[in-house]
């Protein structure tokens, strides 16, 4: 499978990355080169093989059902959460208007 300019533009839109026409033109052959190379995986017989989900067998754990059991990852830390925000207002993240 190979991609054309329209497909790359669609992928870039899905990935929320703005790309110029010139960038699109440059990306098409690059991505096609990589995709053509990964196509070789199609040769592998995977009959009866499950896709890997965990590289090392491990039990999934649940944390204790305690509020703020670990204060480092718990709540009630508005200042810390907002400390690196590019824009903030009234204790919230600031974003451009989303409702017309």
């Amino acid at each position: 499978m190979s991609v054309d300019t329209a497909t790359v533009a669609k992928i870039a839109a899905l990935a929320r990355i703005k790309v110029s026409e010139a960038e699109l033109e440059a990306m098409v052959p690059e991505l096609n080169g990589i995709l053509a190379w990964v196509e070789q995986l199609g040769e592998v017989d995977v009959t009866g093989i499950e896709p890997m989900t965990a590289v090392i067998e491990n039990q999934l754990r649940l944390r204790d059902d305690v509020i703020n059991a670990d204060p480092l990852t718990g709540g009630d830390n508005r200042e810390g959460v907002l400390a690196n925000a590019p824009a903030r207002q009234d204790g919230f993240f600031g974003v451009p208007k989303v409702i017309e």
């Binding site: 499978m1 929320r16 990589i34 995986l41 090392i56 959460v81 974003v95």
Partner: protein, 494 residues
């Protein structure tokens, strides 16, 4: 007095404990080397005051007769992928420029708790995506090594942990943290004549490490020798409830367990790694490594890892897929860069921010990842790659019924010059052909220096072990180290 910057982790720890020198003297000596090495561009920010503060604390503990910790008095470099509270953490990207974490990564906290101090945050490939340290927003790291042809071509320090490898080999730090997703500890270690180990997936907590590909990312130490790696890995490893994939296992005493006796051990040599047109010096160093392990009492067995050739293409589906998902968080809302064109709405802000904040290689991987996960292509690419990954893991399981560790070259060549591969993404990806398979299977793997090639550049040998058998890997590494007598170091030009 000896030049303290020629000492490694064990020698510093023991010297400080014995009172041969103070931790502050050590920190000052390394701070001075860091300050004099701006030409290497190994650090994004330097933190000499942090190194001194930690050293003062160590000296005070010693004066008070308290234990100094596994890394007591040892200043280290911290790859700028680990969140460090109060110190800018960028992943070498523009989108995180100016980001100052409110918290400390588990691994870095463990190192500070063990008595280490921070010399600074080390440069890397942007979001750890690269094999030459040419994708950093903050410029290339220049390897301290040069070819012996009398020229002064700038060489790649490897990647993504290129700041770490350059700093350790240039004696700017006795050790540094690295992270390895598809070879990012081992390949730079090989390129610069140092040692580095990626432990079993889950040994080191990923909490607070900027995520690239979560099923592959693993932290590990980079240092001058095997013992130093063992010491530092003990300090870094351990169960962390904040990482869902963290292994709930005790941390073995790897340093105390070091042994260069391979009697009764079997070393597997994978026949698929002996590729057509293999670099003659790399092939010769591999043969030499086989002879060294045999000399230490090991039995050499040929093994087969039949799906080796599919590891790299599978990796270049799985890693970008996970990256496209992980990097969705950079949206210009909560932290990092925001690019808000005049009159733009929320969607335009996301797209403009990400266009301005990510470099070309990061964008390339996000787009590949988005494509292989998109409706209609998911099964053909992503599911197929995960099935191939299962087969690669089976290959290793089968091989480890016949051998205890596997020996292979770390990289197909010695270091290349900066700019020699940067125009061709595929040629760059192929540099990780020997490193990626162990990453896909989550296995412990290390690179140790084995010698110099005809150009005077270091070559590394790689040892891969069973899950949880870091000890077997370190021990085989020690055998090679003791026989290679690798003492070459880059001549100071910076």
């Amino acid at each position: 007095m000896t030049d303290l910057t020629n000492l490694g982790v064990a020698a510093i720890r023991d010297g400080v404990a014995a009172g041969d020198f103070t931790a502050v003297e050590v920190a000052e000596a390394f701070n001075a080397n860091v300050a004099a090495a701006a030409a290497l561009n190994a650090f994004i920010v330097t933190t000499p005051e942090r190194a001194i503060e930690a050293a003062q604390a160590t000296d005070a503990r010693r004066a008070a007769g308290q234990p100094l910790g596994k890394m007591g008095g040892v200043p280290i470099g911290m790859k700028d992928l680990f969140a460090t509270k109060g110190v800018q953490t960028t992943a070498a990207s523009h989108i995180l420029e100016g980001f100052v974490p409110e918290y400390e990564s588990t691994v870095s906290q463990k190192l500070w708790d063990a008595g280490a101090g921070m010399l600074g945050k080390l440069n890397l490939d942007q979001f750890a995506m690269g094999s030459s340290n040419e994708t950093s927003y903050f410029g290339n790291v220049i390897s301290p090594w040069r070819r012996n042809d009398g020229g002064n071509a700038a060489m790649a320090p490897g990647g993504s942990s290129g700041g770490s490898s350059a700093a350790v080999s240039a004696r700017l730090a006795p050790a540094a943290t690295g992270t390895d997703t598809g070879g990012s500890i081992r390949q730079p270690a090989a390129f610069t004549g140092i040692s580095g180990i990626k432990p079993t997936y889950g040994r080191c907590s990923r909490w607070g490490i900027v995520a690239f590909a979560s099923s592959l990312d693993q932290a590990g130490p980079m240092a001058r020798d095997v013992r130093d790696c063992a010491i530092m890995l003990e300090a870094m490893a351990g169960f962390d409830p904040k990482d869902a994939t963290s292994l709930d296992l005790p941390v073995p005493a790897w340093e105390a367990g070091l042994s260069a006796d391979m009697k009764g051990k079997k070393v597997g040599i994978p026949r698929e790694y002996r590729m057509d047109g293999m670099d003659a010096d790399v092939a010769a160093s591999w043969d030499q490594g086989i002879a060294w392990l045999k000399d230490a009492g090991a039995e050499i067995v040929e093994i087969s890892l039949p799906h080796t050739k599919y590891a790299l293409p599978a990796y270049y589906i799985i890693a970008p897929a996970e990256a496209s998902s992980n990097l969705a968080r950079y949206d210009g809302v909560r932290y990092g860069l925001r690019d808000l064109p005049d009159g733009a709405g929320l969607q335009d802000m996301y797209a403009a921010t990400r266009a301005a904040g990510f470099g070309p290689e990061v964008k390339r991987r996000i787009l590949i990842g988005t494509y292989v996960l998109s409706a209609g292509f998911y099964d053909a690419y992503y599911t197929q790659a995960q099935k191939v990954r299962t087969l690669i893991s089976h290959d290793y399981k089968n091989a480890f019924t016949e051998c205890d560790v596997i020996l292979a070259p770390t990289a197909p060549t010695a270091a290349f010059g900066l700019g020699e591969k940067s125009d061709d993404p595929l040629a760059m990806y192929l540099n990780d052909v020997f490193a990626v398979p162990a990453s896909l299977a989550g296995l412990p793997a290390m690179s140790v220096p084995a010698g110099l090639n005809r150009e005077g550049l270091p070559l590394g040998l790689q040892i891969v072990g069973r899950p949880f058998d870091e000890q077997g890997v370190l021990n085989a590494g020690l055998v090679i180290e003791q026989r290679a007598h690798f003492s070459a170091k880059p001549e100071r030009w910076w």
